[in-house]
């Protein structure tokens, strides 16, 4: 029998690294690939927040630049219009001053001459105001110098203009013409050249401002393109990372399912092989005598029970997965729970030779839950503790009250503790995943389906509770079932200071 039992089926499970080899960025961005896939959830969130902040800051800078460029363009446009209007007005008024003076020559009517003189003086006052504004707004030394020169030349022309006007009004037309030819023409030509120079300087200034604006716009455009490229690359990387994670998750699930199939097949074939061997031995007449038959009967009984338990577990998992299982949450006395759990685990504990200690806090209230669910959940935890309890052969069941994490209600905690292998910190996040089996337990040849803890958690959550774990590698593990305490005052309580130990050889 022993020889027959050694022939275990072997199913080759593809290695995860073989499945994921190649990745999303095969040889393209391996560093980024490793970096992104190596991030935890919190790190990913922080990275995302950081990138969002960075993009926001750079975006604000670009928007500010663009707004600044826009304002500058508006200013240039507005000041160009105003500047051109001002220069145009200045040139027109200067011409108007001279034109009105010369118009006075065309008539002998003193009344009309006075009107022309008045027009000339009004125009020259507007020119003076324009020059004053220009000097006031001048910033560059060349503009200031030009403004002063224009003012000087204009006053020189006005002095001659006044003499010309006086001569015209006095009736001395010839004298007026002579005065204008002698000085007025040259003086006005100087003014005209000054105004041309004003326009030239203004054009130069406008050209410089436009060049600056174009430079700012160019920089802003480059920044914008940079942001768009960065955002595009980031989005590409994020999409790739998401796809990678989804693919890894799918591959991991597939891997777990394959491992599960292999494990279940193995677990089912083992008792089948034993049953087969025992049946063969009996049929072949190898087993003789009542004692031997009883021994083989016990073997058949145990193995068939083991197979039955395994099938039940798989069916239970399937039912919880399909949400077909419904638990009736009601007040359940702690004493009933303890009694049921110990009764269920009696055979398991006895067969494994494990010492099961009970520590129950006095006055623990009833809990809200389903007795069957609680029993199943605790049975799974005790089975786990027995299976992975190592050489210590010790398991403790501790029941006590505490305030829930949310602080809103009181809860009852039922802890199952062992002094076995413990769980590596990196594995804590996965132990409640269905079909998950630690590589260390595979190495240690500890058989299982990887469904026990997953089932326990689903049952706990289905009853409104939760399941938590505290574990140190090599020291042991404590699984805690958190159940809400019933608020009924007539609940049955466990007798005070009950602490017993069930020992089995």
């Amino acid at each position: 029998m022993s020889l027959r039992l050694l022939s275990r089926p072997v199913i080759n499970v593809p290695k995860k690294e073989n499945l994921v080899r190649g990745g999303v960025f095969p040889g393209t961005l391996p560093v980024l690939d490793r970096f992104l896939t190596g991030l935890s959830t919190m790190q990913s969130i922080f990275l995302l927040i950081f990138i969002c902040c960075a993009i926001t800051v750079v975006g604000m800078v670009v928007v500010r630049d663009l707004r600044s460029a826009n304002n500058e363009a508006k200013n240039i446009f507005t000041s160009s219009i105003q500047g051109l209007h001002s220069i145009g007005d200045l040139q027109y008024d200067a011409q108007e001053t001279r034109r009105a003076t010369l118009y006075a020559l065309t008539t002998k009517d003193s009344n009309l001459q006075v009107i022309y003189a008045d027009q000339s003086r009004n125009a020259d006052q507007r020119v003076k105001d324009g020059i004053t504004r220009y000097v006031h707004q001048a910033t560059r030394p060349s503009e200031v110098s030009l403004g002063e020169r224009l003012n000087r030349d204009w006053n020189a022309y006005l002095a001659i203009r006044d003499e010309v006007l006086a001569s015209i009004l006095e009736g001395s037309t010839e004298e007026a013409v002579n005065l204008d030819i002698a000085g007025g023409v040259r003086a006005f030509e100087r003014v005209r050249q000054d105004l041309q120079e004003v326009k030239r300087l203004y054009d130069e200034d406008a050209s410089v401002r436009i060049a600056n604006l174009m430079a700012v716009s160019r920089v802003s455009s480059l920044k914008l393109i940079g942001i768009l490229c960065f955002t595009f690359l980031l989005s590409l990387a994020a999409v790739s990372a998401i796809q990678r994670v989804q693919m890894l998750g799918a591959m991991r699930l597939a891997n777990l399912q394959m491992e599960f199939v292999a494990s279940v097949s193995h677990e089912l074939r083992t008792p089948l092989a034993v049953l087969n061997s025992a049946a063969d031995n009996i049929a072949d007449g190898i087993v003789k005598g009542d004692a031997a038959l009883q021994k083989y009967g016990a073997i058949l009984q145990n193995q068939s029970r083991h197979m039955s338990t395994m099938v039940d577990e798989i069916l239970l998992f399937a039912s919880t997965e399909d949400r077909k299982n419904r638990y009736i949450v009601q007040r359940v006395p702690i004493a009933t729970i303890v009694e049921t759990v110990l009764s269920n685990a009696q055979t398991l504990v006895r067969d494994a030779g494990v010492t099961l200690e009970r520590h129950i806090e006095p006055g623990v209230p009833h809990v809200l839950g389903d007795l069957g669910g609680i029993s199943q959940c605790l049975h799974n935890l005790i089975s786990n503790a027995v299976k992975y309890g190592g050489e210590a052969k010790w398991v403790a069941l501790t029941i006590y009250t505490a305030t829930a994490k949310e602080g809103a209600f009181e809860e009852v905690r039922i802890a199952v503790t062992d002094r076995g292998l413990g769980i590596d910190r990196s594995e804590l996040a996965h132990i409640f995943d269905p079909f998950y089996r630690s590589p260390r337990v595979n190495v240690a040849q500890i058989h299982g389906t990887g469904l026990g803890l997953s089932l326990a958690r689903k049952i706990a959550e289905a009853m409104g509770g939760r399941l938590s774990v505290i574990s140190d590698l090599g020291v042991g593990s404590t699984f805690i079932l958190h159940l809400q305490a019933a608020r009924s005052e007539d609940g049955q309580t466990i007798p005070a200071s009950e602490s017993t130990t069930t020992s089995h050889p």
Partner: protein
């Protein structure tokens, strides 16, 4: 014959004299203080003119064209209002001591003989007078007190300003109708 000629000449002179007296005041009495709503008529010159005071005699000579230049050598330009304006009547009557016809004859005679170089400039409004005087350094004209502003300079006559009680040049106040 000689006696008849002499008598005829005397008769014509008498008639001319009577006609002249009859038109001397054009039926409008010379304004006197306390005789009605009058205001002073100021003599104004350009602000650059150094003259502050003129005697009535000098003023008469200027308006009759007998004086053509100011003390600084600048040519004098006379500014007159239109014929029939109260201000002109005051100047012709009280400064020139003539009738319009006499003044016209005098000016034409002066221009013809070359004694008067430039005829007076005729302006139709007080504002025109003010602006003309403002623009011409050698100009002299007249304005009601109510028409004065800072663009022209007022000269006193015989050291009496237009605001003085003894100022002689007066003109009836215009009501606007």
């Amino acid at each position: 014959m000689k006696i008849r000629t002499t008598l005829a000449t005397v008769l014509l002179m008498a008639l001319w004299s009577a006609g002249s007296r009859a038109t001397a005041f054009d039926g409008v009495p010379s304004p006197r203080l306390g005789q009605g709503p009058f205001e002073s008529l100021a003599i104004v010159v350009n602000r650059s003119n150094q003259t502050d005071n003129l005697s009535m005699v000098e003023l008469r000579r200027i308006f009759l064209g007998e004086r053509s230049h100011w003390a600084n050598g600048r040519r004098i330009t006379l500014v007159m209002r239109d014929l029939g304006e109260p201000e002109r009547r005051t100047i012709v009557r009280d400064v020139c001591g003539m009738t319009e016809d006499q003044l016209k004859f005098h000016v034409l005679h002066g221009l013809f003989t070359g004694e008067i170089l430039v005829s007076p400039k005729i302006l139709s409004s007080a504002e025109g007078v003010r602006k003309f005087v403002f623009n011409v350094p050698g100009a002299i004209g007249y304005l009601r007190m109510s028409d004065l502003d800072s663009t022209v300079k007022v000269v006193s006559i015989d050291n009496i300003l237009p605001s003085g009680r003894a100022y002689e040049l007066k003109v009836t106040i215009q009501t606007g109708y």
